[in-house]
């Protein structure tokens, strides 16, 4: 796993996606047998995420992760106006 992109984001003064307890939305690319998934954020950065807290996560799902663990699958609904 590489976190070079994340480190660069921190250095630039932007919110780091996990190191200050912030959630990040990730696309699931591949689910491995031990419940770990390779997931990518919108910027294309890939990291390994523990998916075991959500039932039936599959490739193509969108999840919200905190500190390396996916907490919920996100539904693609629009903002209510």
């Amino acid at each position: 796993m590489t976190h070079a992109g994340q480190a660069a984001a921190c250095a630039a003064g932007e919110s780091c996606i996990t190191c200050s307890d912030q959630g990040v939305v990730l696309h699931v690319l591949h689910v491995m047998a031990d419940g770990i998934g390779r997931c990518a954020d919108e910027g294309g950065r890939v990291e390994e995420i523990d998916l075991t807290l959500i039932d039936g996560v599959a490739e193509g799902d969108i999840v919200l992760a905190h500190a390396g663990v996916a907490l919920v699958r996100i539904r693609r609904e629009q903002v209510r106006s």
């Binding site: 996990t18 307890d21 912030q22 959630g23 905190h66 500190a67 390396g68 907490l71 903002v79």
Partner: protein
């Protein structure tokens, strides 16, 4: 950007702001607390407060996990980090939080092996890669990061990793909210509830706020339109004489949370009788420690820690900022002696801290320029 741009639409924002103007009573002053540091960050990054009428005040709450760590716990962490066989791992923000005699970053400069990680799973990986060293993870955060620590400890136990332990500082969100509601300093009209904590605990734990205190709470997402809509929902409840738990963040937050995460928390952690919060003092049953089944992984059992309570620096008013009693710019050292580069208080350290959010997004002015 897909799934992001929809929540940053300027026209929608202006329409919501116009609706808010028609919702509030002109002569009434409204104080709405955003509990979570992530909301504070959004408000000042996107200027959400500038879209609100002058009589709607957003008050920053205690929901930044770095900001509420007391100095004594930082001193304890540094004491563990200085033990020669220890590799001490923590989230990046924690390395810059001042203890009574410096930071973890200072300890690293003086020879301690302190390493930044992005998740406790990374710390466990370091432990597997360094069987001859002891790896300690500095666990902080609310119910959002606690599941990550729990799953890591469950893996460590299943894999029988003997050289991994956890210095546990996890806290829970409901007790400080109750403490704030009991505080005579602060009269709040309603709350913007923590979105990501609620993915784990659900909305149910917040039902005491309308039931016992008669205040509305709206669980909110973190994009600017999420926050603006949540403010509108709180104000609408007040205008209609209602007080309920409402969920603006339905695309993410199930009302019952994540039962599997709650099971993991119940297995790995138990409540401490008391835990100290910066600015709020000791709050009963607000902190987590490792349960008896995981005591072997408890760094506080493995290593001696000073455990001394340390008073905050007199110049620092993080406590008042965390309680929403003063705004960051009202602190005597804000932007002068205390800056993100050389923070005195925790609120200036974390990007989620109210002081850092004000400072980083240019909110140095004492008067809000309302558009």
């Amino acid at each position: 950007m897909k799934f992001v741009d929809e929540y940053r639409d300027a026209d929608l924002g202006r329409a919501l702001a116009a609706e808010i103007v028609t919702t509030v009573e002109p002569g009434r002053h409204y104080k709405v607390m955003e509990v979570c540091g992530g909301h504070t960050h959004t408000i000042y990054k996107y200027g959400v407060d500038d879209l609100l009428p002058a009589n709607v005040e957003l008050v920053h709450g205690p929901g930044c996990p770095v900001c509420v760590i007391p100095m004594g716990r930082v001193d304890d962490a540094i004491a563990v980090a200085r033990i020669p066989e220890v590799i001490f791992t923590c989230f990046g923000d924690m390395m810059r939080v001042p203890g009574s005699a410096g930071t973890l970053l200072d300890a690293k400069a003086e020879g301690a092996d302190v390493r930044m990680v992005y998740s406790p799973l990374d710390a466990l990986r370091i432990a597997r890669q360094n069987p001859g060293r002891q790896v300690v993870f500095f666990a902080i955060g609310f119910e959002t990061t606690a599941p990550s620590t729990a799953l890591t400890l469950m893996r460590a136990k299943a894999e029988r990793v003997p050289n991994f332990s956890c210095f546990c500082n996890h806290v829970t969100i409901v007790p400080p909210l109750r403490a704030l509601l009991e505080s005579p300093d602060l009269r709040l009209d309603g709350f913007i509830g923590p979105g990501h904590v609620s993915t784990v605990v659900g909305a149910r734990p917040f039902e005491f706020i309308p039931r016992d205190y008669g205040k509305p709470i709206v669980i909110s997402g973190f994009e600017p339109l999420d926050v603006l809509q949540s403010v509108h929902m709180v104000l609408t409840q007040l205008a209609q004489g209602r007080c309920e738990v409402e969920n603006q963040y339905t695309r993410v937050v199930p009302y019952d949370g994540n039962p599997r995460a709650l099971e993991a928390l119940a297995e790995v952690f138990e409540l401490r009788p008391h835990f100290e919060w910066r600015g709020l003092g000791f709050i009963s049953q607000s902190g987590l420690k490792l349960s008896a089944a995981y005591r072997d992984f408890d760094a506080e059992s493995r290593y001696p820690v000073p455990g001394i309570r340390v008073a905050d620096p007199k110049a620092c008013q993080c406590g008042e900022v965390l309680k929403g009693v003063i705004k960051p710019w009202e602190c005597k050292v804000f932007g002068t002696a205390c800056t993100p580069e050389r923070p005195i208080g925790t609120c200036m350290v974390s990007s989620e801290g109210a002081c850092a959010a004000y400072y980083n997004y240019g909110r140095l002015a004492r008067e809000r320029q309302v558009v």
